[in-house]
């Protein structure tokens, strides 16, 4: 059993949980993820690691309440336990000692981006950031990022905070104004990563993305997380989760993400009474 030490609501859809998980905390690196089961009958779901504390042996996860299992997770409070919490899974991000990097965090994608940018900054890289969301209340971690990011640009779909528009508009504007980046690290909804990659490809600007597909075991055994990268089938759990954004077949992955939509709606309605 894995004790929940703290739980904070970041907004009405997103929560942060600090879990005591010694094996994960001792070895995890930016880019890696965990799989958890809320209770004994639960489904296995992958979540990215936002922070870790080796000394206290804790791992911080940030998740958006999107379906049955995340709703169940959200019902747990500090002092409760999670049935299973396995990791660290996936390969750590390959972080390069570049001059200057820009991170793009879309919605809850800011969470896995945080440890990557923090580490880059510790390596002496100059880090800029674009945070994007539908509206102001869905922007997370801005204050934490501000501790080490040189410039932070916020975009919202409805213009309730920062610039009205998409993260891609902001990136385009920055680059056209002459900002020189060695790499873009984009983490967020698939559609966002797709359009960031489409934008940066003609510029030949290295773009790294982190994928979070449907998964069962997370160790390479099931193959449910397969994705086409550069024309080849890869397993996100053992080959990723980070890939060259220019090589990923996003359309295929978006279709695969929707595989269990009907079942998800069904169980939410049946077990949670959601409309």
């Amino acid at each position: 059993m894995y004790p929940i030490l703290a739980k904070t609501k970041l907004n009405n859809q997103v929560e942060e949980m600090i879990v005591h998980a010694p094996y994960v905390a001792r070895r995890c690196e930016p880019g890696q993820f965990i799989i958890l089961r809320v209770d004994d009958k639960g489904e296995r779901i992958p979540l990215t690691i936002a922070e870790y504390d080796r000394a206290r042996e804790t791992v911080t996860i940030i998740y958006q309440i999107v379906g049955y299992t995340t709703q169940k997770l959200s019902e747990k409070q500090a002092g409760d336990t999670l049935a299973d919490f396995v990791g660290p899974l996936g390969r750590p991000t390959e972080l390069h000692a570049h001059q200057r990097v820009i991170g793009i965090g879309g919605g809850v994608g800011a969470a896995p981006l945080y440890p990557q940018l923090k580490k880059l900054s510790e390596m002496g890289v100059s880090v800029d950031l674009i945070l994007g969301a539908r509206s102001k209340d869905l922007i997370i971690l801005e204050e934490k990022f501000s501790k080490f990011c040189k410039n932070i640009y916020v975009t919202t779909d409805d213009g309730s905070y920062g610039t009205k528009g998409l993260v891609t508009n902001k990136l385009k504007e920055l680059v056209e104004k002459g900002a020189k980046y060695d790499e873009v690290i984009a983490i967020g909804p698939l559609i966002m990563m797709k359009f960031v990659s489409l934008l940066t490809k003609p510029w030949n600007l290295k773009t790294s993305v982190s994928l979070n597909p449907v998964m069962v075991d997370g160790t390479g055994m099931c193959g449910g997380c397969r994705v086409t990268v550069g024309g080849q089938t890869k397993f996100v759990c053992v080959d990723g989760p980070d890939f060259d954004g220019h090589q990923v077949d996003y359309d295929e992955l978006m279709r695969r993400q929707g595989m269990y939509k009907t079942e998800e709606a069904h169980i939410c309605k049946l077990q949670l009474g959601a409309a």
């Binding site: 094996y23 075991d217 055994m221 279709r255």
Partner: protein, 468 residues
């Protein structure tokens, strides 16, 4: 007592095919004590004991059967469990027809003694009726790590615990059992039974660390730093193979591993009571001809598919699955498309709609000794489907190989061992089961676990003696 000279095995009661395709309950129901005694009396208690030679863990078969014939089930269980810590499981899933039973003298004129059914009977009987306490063993304080809680690891751990070692099993999933839990379906091997038999086998106080992926959560070298004196790697076969044909990433295409793991370990057959879903179409094709393919096909039928096909590129004789499994599959209405090979999975809007196949014919024997299937030109045809399950094998998981310097592996990724001891190229590291052999049987993995346990004991004892 005069032997029972009937040329046939005492039949084992089974659920009728038309009933069982509607449930996940066990197909074979097991012998009653009377039926077991009657079957046990067919054993001639011959001097040569050829059956024992065929058993990878060397169960004293005639001896335990004699006890069953005498009605001494406790005695039978003690003999059986001294060599096999998972008898109820092995009685169900061992390929007895190619191991012990094939060597039985009675098989020369009629059917061999039903060793598997008797083993299952004794295993079940012990679980329900006997409360055997394990003998007290003096703990020697020496720590051994076992990586993987499947058949190989469980056997190795059980043996070492009996010898007094402090054993810890590191399991990547949230449940012990490996393929017994995620792979073999409930209707062939009930999970409650697996859990109970494993608990009994580990009664001697084996420590279990679930949710630890060796190679990610901790490395083999770190285990030594933590004070383990030897490490046994039994992490299983690993990554599912795909055919590398067009359409394999369409929605509705599963690896057999994923399909069976969702249904077995995650109990997707009980959705929405269990939150893990599994998509099943009206028409399902399972590609492959082994036991895993049969399990997937029969699972699909139980999940409500109307038509289920086995698509296999060789002929009936070449099917690698056990005869019993093929027989059960046919009884349940699985349609066998033999000498048939997929070339393309067809789809619309991202979902499977069918599979294009070609007919095959058998040519000259290949390296495996089996006749090589050759494509019949122009024989392309299409089957309409909603679900495809690929059951064509798997390759070893690279996680341990990549993170354990000094561990030598085959070109295909399997760990290289000395077969007499299961010792690897790395000091104090042993390995066994599918990670060494490639996908094989439960009992072979158990045999490897047992061999390794003895070799570990031998080696550590020598070292202890040298120090003293």
């Amino acid at each position: 007592m005069a032997p029972n000279m009937s040329p046939k095995k005492v039949p084992i009661p089974e659920q009728k095919p038309e009933e069982r395709v509607k449930n996940f309950n066990e197909v074979a129901l097991g012998y009653t004590p009377e039926q077991a005694k009657e079957e046990a009396a067919r054993c001639l208690q011959c001097k040569m004991r050829p059956c024992v030679e065929g058993c990878p863990v060397g169960v004293k078969i005639p001896e335990f059967i004699k006890k069953v014939a005498e009605g001494d089930m406790g005695g039978a269980s003690r003999i059986l469990s001294s060599d096999n810590c998972l008898p109820a499981i092995c009685g169900r899933v061992c390929p007895q027809e190619t191991q012990c039973e094939i060597l039985c003298l009675r098989g020369k004129k009629g059917e061999p003694v039903a060793i598997g059914r008797l083993e299952r009977f004794v295993g079940d009987y012990a679980m329900e009726n006997l409360q055997e306490q394990p003998p007290a063993v003096e703990r020697n304080g020496i720590k051994v790590a076992v990586v993987g809680g499947g058949p190989a690891g469980l056997t190795c751990a059980g043996e070492l615990a009996r010898l007094g070692y402090g054993v810890t099993i590191f399991e990547a999933l949230h449940a012990l059992g490996g393929v017994l839990m995620y792979g073999i379906p409930e209707f062939r091997l009930p999970k409650a039974l697996v859990g109970k038999e494993i608990a009994a086998a580990l009664k001697l106080g084996v420590k279990i660390e679930k949710n630890v992926v060796v190679g990610r959560s901790v490395t083999v070298d770190e285990l030594f730093q933590e004070g383990f004196k030897a490490v046994f790697i039994g992490c299983g076969a690993g990554l599912p193979s795909f055919m590398k044909i067009e359409g394999e990433n369409l929605n509705g295409v599963y690896s057999a591993n994923e399909f069976l793991t969702r249904s077995n370990l995650m109990t997707a057959y009980d959705f929405p009571n269990s939150p893990t879903p599994l998509k099943i179409g009206q028409r399902v094709a399972v590609v492959g001809g082994g036991n895993v393919a049969m399990d997937a096909a029969r699972t699909a039928k139980r999940l409500g598919a109307r038509e289920v096909y086995i698509v296999y590129r060789r002929g009936e004789k070449e099917l690698p699955a056990r005869l019993e499994e093929v027989h059960h599959a046919k009884e349940e209405g699985i349609i066998f498309k033999l000498l048939c090979n997929p070339v393309k999975i067809l789809g619309k809007d991202g979902w499977v709609t069918g599979m294009e196949c070609v007919e095959m014919e058998l040519g000259e024997p290949d390296e495996s000794g089996r006749r090589r299937p050759v494509v019949k030109k122009g024989s392309n045809f299409t089957i309409e489907l909603e679900t495809v399950v690929i059951a064509i094998g798997q390759s070893p998981n690279p996680l341990i190989r990549q993170t354990t310097p000094g561990l030598e592996t085959q070109k295909w990724g399997g760990i290289i061992v000395d077969e007499a001891t299961m010792k690897t190229s790395k000091e104090n590291v042993y390995a066994g089961g599918d990670i060494v052999t490639g996908a094989a049987t439960v009992i072979l993995a158990m045999g490897a676990g047992k061999t390794a346990a003895r070799a570990i004991h031998e080696s550590l004892r020598k070292k202890a003696a040298a120090v003293a």
